[in-house]
């Protein structure tokens, strides 16, 4: 098979096109040939890694060139594998960070009080303030019960008085 090397500028353009998923077979072959070159600048190392064209695979890829169908299949699988692994790793790392951040910040951001306009986050003070508001409700409940009891007493008294007329 005839090999034509492309210049770096053209390789950069094709790499960009490759990451957009727009390259054709011929263009990918050109990229492959370019990345398999020795003495390439180190800035192409990530591309080599992502495209799976490490030196270790070089021989293997060259061997495969005699059977084009298998080569394409394996290459495609590699092309999928590396970005997927990198992407999954990034997502996993981000989620771990978010869950940790959420767990660590949740108690401090969600537990607070404003006492006459001043923010309070001290746990003991918060508990006391909370208890105080519950006590107000509790005492009001007592008042309501007392009023109802008083009403009952008054109703009994009224009934007794009404009985006198019968």
């Amino acid at each position: 098979m005839k090999t034509t090397q492309i210049p770096q500028k053209e390789a950069d353009r094709l790499l960009e096109k490759y990451y957009d998923g727009l390259t054709t077979t011929a263009e990918e072959r050109l990229l492959q040939q370019f990345l398999l070159q020795d003495n390439l600048p180190t800035r192409y190392d990530p591309d080599k890694a992502i495209l799976g064209y490490f030196a270790a695979n070089k021989t293997h890829t060259t061997e495969r060139s005699s059977t084009p169908t298998v080569t394409l299949s394996l290459r495609q699988r590699k092309r999928w594998l590396y970005p997927s692994l990198i992407g999954s790793g990034a997502v996993a790392a981000m989620l771990t960070f978010l869950f940790t951040f959420n767990y660590l910040t949740h108690p401090s951001t969600d537990n607070y009080a404003y006492v006459h306009g001043e923010k309070v986050t001290d746990a003991a003070l918060l508990a006391a303030t909370m208890q105080s508001s519950i006590d107000i409700l509790g005492s009001s409940s007592e008042d309501v019960d007392a009023s109802v009891a008083l009403l009952d007493t008054e109703r009994d008294l009224l009934n007794e008085q009404l009985q006198l007329f019968y």
């Binding site: 978010l98 537990n111 404003y114 306009g117 009001s140 309501v144």
Partner: protein
């Protein structure tokens, strides 16, 4: 060859969209659920409006510090000598009580002084709104919002009895 590649490229884009979608979904799940539960209520406006006022005490507490009560979320506000705030809260309660179960209501001279509402449960559990306004010895109101996995009776009894046993 070409159709095979086109299929590969076409397959890559939905995968990216899917990955982004999953990430977005997981990020949404990281948000505290009770924040969403409370947002839909009209009383939330009362907390926002009067929470930092000089004559008010507002408490906001989450599960981590509510072990004693077995609540998921607790928010309360007590306001002193502010009839306007009381009227505003009563208006909010009138809107929130639509679709809610009225556990207790006390009306004195045509004005609601006590309301206990059981709202439609959310994923986290039961939701209660407790409101009371008392005039003597000082004019003050208390508004409490609670989320708990416990039953309504089990939430209320300890709160209302606590004062009497103290």
């Amino acid at each position: 060859m070409k159709p095979q590649l086109l299929r590969t490229n076409a397959f890559r884009r939905p995968a990216r969209i899917l990955r982004a979608g999953i990430l977005f979904l997981l990020l949404s799940l990281c948000l505290p659920s009770h924040l969403m539960a409370q947002k839909g209520l009209n009383i939330d406006e009362a907390f926002k409006r009067y929470g930092k006022a000089k004559n008010a005490v507002m408490v906001n507490m989450s599960k981590e510090v509510l072990e004693e009560y077995d609540f998921i979320f607790f928010k309360s506000i007590t306001i002193k000598n502010d009839p306007e705030a009381a009227n505003f809260i009563r208006a909010c309660l009138a809107k929130d009580e639509k679709g809610a179960k009225k556990i207790k209501q006390v009306v004195a001279n045509g004005v609601v002084t006590t309301t206990y509402l059981q709202l439609a449960p959310v994923e986290g559990g039961n939701r209660l709104i407790l409101f009371n306004e008392q005039v003597k010895p000082t004019r003050q109101l208390v508004l409490i919002y609670i989320e708990s996995e416990k039953e309504t009776d089990d939430i209320l009894k300890p709160l209302l009895i606590k004062k009497r046993t103290n």
